[in-house]
């Protein structure tokens, strides 16, 4: 299996990963730190899967910040195609160029032909941009499960060899391999082939202890006692069978809300009046109110 020249690893140990991600404002647990470390060492793409709002995209951003790389983001959606993901010829500009050449007499077709398929007319999209960069890069392919199956085929090619073949220009190989992070909400199963090429990291809701640390690091003004109360309440909500369990980002929103409102304890009244911050379905709110005896 030919691999492009490996880059010098950016992290020296798992502890190093934890420390630098923490500095970048992301508190990883042992699983996250180990997997990120391995992705860096083995030079493999990292596939992060989990429910919405568990910090998948945030991890990529923190990784970029921790390694001093630039983040290039490819947001996937249904109907995403090669022209949006990889590269596109700027045909309007090409057309202008051809018409301009027709105006001038004695235009040599061959010269024009070579000319219109040059760098100048190439519109670089995220994948090509990431491959051509010589500076450290984190390529984030967000919500991969939203894209069509054809895009996965394209990703396979790009992620295994880190090169792109443009018929008119030739093959462009990565001079410096970007760190690749793919995220997925698991709304559909990604293809086996793609998963096999990646390191798999499944992100779930964090442990109580870690969630409390996250809350305190992101909302530092919150009293530790209230944070503890908040996290335990959130866990009680997650234990109910809700349509959409509150995510970490919603925990943080809630913490921020309590702080703004100046509430210093999370009692029935406080929860009832701010429940909309964490639960966004009417049926979920009803159920939570009944189960947690808010009335």
């Amino acid at each position: 299996m030919p691999r492009p020249p490996t880059q010098t690893p950016q992290f020296s140990s798992v502890a190093d990963v934890s420390k630098r991600l923490a500095t970048a404002g992301y508190l990883p647990d042992a699983q996250i730190a180990t997997t990120v470390f391995l992705a860096d060492r083995l030079g493999k793409p990292l596939l992060v899967e989990g429910p919405a709002g568990t910090g998948k995209t945030e991890l990529a951003k923190a990784l970029a910040a921790a390694t001093g790389s630039e983040l290039i983001r490819l947001q996937c959606y249904e109907g995403l195609d090669e022209a949006r993901a990889l590269y596109e010829w700027n045909y309007k500009k090409q057309l202008l160029r051809i018409q301009a050449a027709q105006g001038a007499d004695g235009a040599d077709w061959h010269a024009v032909h070579d000319d219109v398929f040059g760098e100048e007319f190439l519109l670089s999209r995220p994948l090509l941009t990431a491959i051509r960069r010589t500076e450290p890069t984190v390529l984030l392919i967000d919500e991969t499960d939203k894209a069509d199956v054809e895009v996965e085929g394209l990703l396979l090619e790009v992620l295994s060899d880190f090169q792109v073949t443009i018929p008119e220009l030739g093959t462009i190989a990565a001079t410096r391999r970007p760190t690749v992070v793919l995220t997925s909400n698991a709304t559909r199963e990604l293809s086996e082939a793609l998963k096999r090429r990646c390191l798999y990291l499944s992100l779930d809701y964090p442990s109580a202890e870690r969630e409390r640390e996250i809350v305190l690091s992101r909302v530092p003004d919150l009293a530790p006692g209230l944070a503890e109360q908040l996290v335990r309440t959130i866990r009680a909500l997650r234990a109910l069978e809700l349509k959409k369990s509150p995510s970490i980002s919603e925990t943080l929103d809630w913490a921020q809300t309590l702080l703004e409102l100046g509430l210093d304890t999370l009692d029935e009244t406080a929860v009832r009046s701010t429940l909309g911050v964490v639960l966004k379905h009417a049926s979920d709110q009803d159920r939570a109110a009944a189960e947690l005896r808010l009335n």
């Binding site: 299996m1 691999r3 490996t6 140990s13 798992v14 042992a30 699983q31 180990t34 997997t35 391995l38 992705a39 060492r41 083995l42 899967e49 989990g50 249904e78 109907g79 045909y91 309007k92 057309l95 018409q99 069509d148 698991a186 709304t187 559909r188 199963e189 086996e192 998963k195 096999r196 390191l199 798999y200 990291l201 499944s202 779930d204 109580a208 109360q229 335990r232 309440t233 866990r235 009680a236 234990a239 069978e241 999370l266 009692d267 029935e268 929860v271 379905h281 009417a282 049926s283 159920r287 189960e291 947690l292 005896r293 808010l294």
Partner: protein
């Protein structure tokens, strides 16, 4: 990197063989692991710090697993193949490595001071119970795990038999009866006052979580000791539960049910996404001449981009006819969840439920409604039982065709859900055949294994002659069906 792998493997032949055995056990548990993943796993061994067990656990998981549902089975196997006692001394993260067979030794991290198994057994149990209550109140996971190991050693030992020493989790639970500690723990967590209402519910949840963690730790320790005694292959076979999406609908236990509900939700979403994608994609519509000419002005009259009219949206109509009798209760719950999810995306979904008569239940599935509520309301309010509450397919089909003659038309997909067990009554084949003929497509999902079709009072094989009958025993098969729909 491949050179490094081979030299690493050569230096640690035993380790490579051990890894191979582990990979094979993972495969046997129903987790597909390809050759390239096994090679990657070997590469992991050269990169991670082998002295750190958690690093190894997460590292191997990163290459061997492909879905979150596989993790519990993987963790059980990992604990068997890389048991705690295999950890070399000097690991900073654990203090109780010497727990094996030497309960009297004073662990550095343990606060428990126990005599060497002398004294009254009941006295020992009482003191350990107090200790457990204290640990549960504190919620220190590591201390709780250490305590679980000790508890298995002291309380879980069965009387020695000729076949060797064995340990049982239930003996520990009986001696400590942690469930009776709940009241005490609640009082401890809540402090004075604050009973009832939100605070108590939240505290209860915390207690539940910690008790579950303790139980899991005891089970893991019992498995570890059993593996040391009887060989890990035998333990692995019995200890690993089937993955949630391969549990039989009809045989699912309470714990599986909760897990299954979680796997069905994304499945339904996937189905909805598929169907709506089908609606939006495909051939673009007819050429919009006016817009194309208008756009060509920007490129000097050359129509570089063509514009098209949007296609007419095809609205799929789905009629679900679901057996809700007791024998298929587990199964129908999941299919009704699917129905509910589809209702949220399409207006053209109608649901009918039957036992020995049929009633329309679409109204219970308005978007945003809770499925468990809906199922309960079907039992209470819908008119699905005419006679004795045993399935009567013949009557149910007749009532359906009679009362809702226009429900199934040339644009309708018909989905029948049930086991086809008629209690030796009329199967109503002609009615069903007529419905199938009138519909655009028709499928029957049967939660029974194919070999049982036609046995006893099952008319599944006879139904199979007039309708496409699909075996649908677990979530995986349901997913397969959904993708072919």
């Amino acid at each position: 990197m491949s050179a490094a792998t081979s030299s690493g493997a050569a230096a640690t032949g035993g380790l490579a063989g051990h890894l191979d055995g582990f990979v094979r056990a993972v495969r046997e548990a129903g987790i597909p692991v390809g050759i390239s993943q096994a090679v990657d796993a070997a590469e992991i061994l050269t990169v991670v710090d082998l002295l750190d067990r958690e690093q190894l656990r997460h590292g191997l998981a990163a290459v061997l697993l492909q879905r979150a549902a596989q993790r519990p089975a993987y963790d059980v196997l990992f604990d068997l193949w890389w048991p705690l006692a295999d950890r070399p001394a000097g690991d900073p993260s654990g203090g109780a490595d010497d727990g094996e067979g030497e309960p009297g030794d004073d662990d550095a991290g343990s606060t428990l001071d126990l005599p060497e198994g002398h004294g009254d057994e009941r006295d020992l149990a009482r003191r350990m119970r107090e200790e457990l209550a204290r640990l549960l109140l504190e919620g220190d996971d590591e201390a709780l795990r250490r305590f679980a190991r000790q508890a298995v050693d002291q309380l879980g030992r069965a009387p020695a038999s000729p076949s060797g020493q064995s340990y049982f989790g239930y003996r520990v639970m009986r001696a400590l009866s942690p469930d009776t500690l709940v009241a005490q723990l609640l009082a401890g967590l809540l402090g004075d006052g604050g009973r009832g209402g939100l605070a108590e519910q939240v505290a209860r949840q915390t207690v539940r979580e910690r008790l579950a963690a303790f139980r899991a730790a005891v089970d893991a320790e019992v498995r570890r000791r059993a593996a040391a005694e009887r060989g890990r292959d035998r333990v692995a076979k019995s200890a690993v539960r089937p993955l949630a999406d391969q549990v039989d609908f009809l045989r699912a236990q309470q714990a599986d049910l909760a897990e299954l509900r979680r796997t069905v939700a994304p499945l339904a979403r996937r189905l909805a996404v598929r169907l709506s994608a089908r609606r939006r994609m495909g051939r673009v519509g007819r050429l919009d001449f006016r817009r194309t000419v208008r756009a060509s002005l920007g490129t000097g009259g050359v129509p570089v981009v063509t514009h098209h009219r949007p296609r007419k949206v095809h609205k799929p109509e789905l009629v679900v006819l679901c057996d809700v009798s007791g024998s298929v209760a587990g199964f129908s719950h999941f299919t009704l969840m699917l129905t509910q999810a589809l209702r949220e995306h399409f207006s053209g979904v109608r649901a009918f439920a039957f036992v020995d008569a049929t009633d329309e239940v679409t109204r219970f599935f308005r978007p945003g409604a809770d499925v468990s509520d809906a199922v309960a309301r079907i039992g209470r309010e819908a008119d699905v039982v005419a006679f004795d509450g045993h399935s009567d397919y013949g009557n149910a089909l007749e009532v359906f065709a009679d009362r809702w003659p226009s429900a199934v038309g040339p644009k309708t997909s018909l989905l029948v859900l049930g086991d086809g067990r008629t209690n030796y009554r009329q199967p109503g084949l002609p009615v069903l055949a007529d419905l199938v003929k009138r519909s655009r497509s028709a499928h029957w999902l049967n939660p029974e294994p194919r070999r049982l079709w036609g046995s006893g009072d099952s008319a599944a094989d006879r139904y199979g002659e007039v309708i496409d009958m699909v075996e649908c025993r677990n979530a995986t098969q349901l997913a397969d069906f959904v993708t072919t729909l």
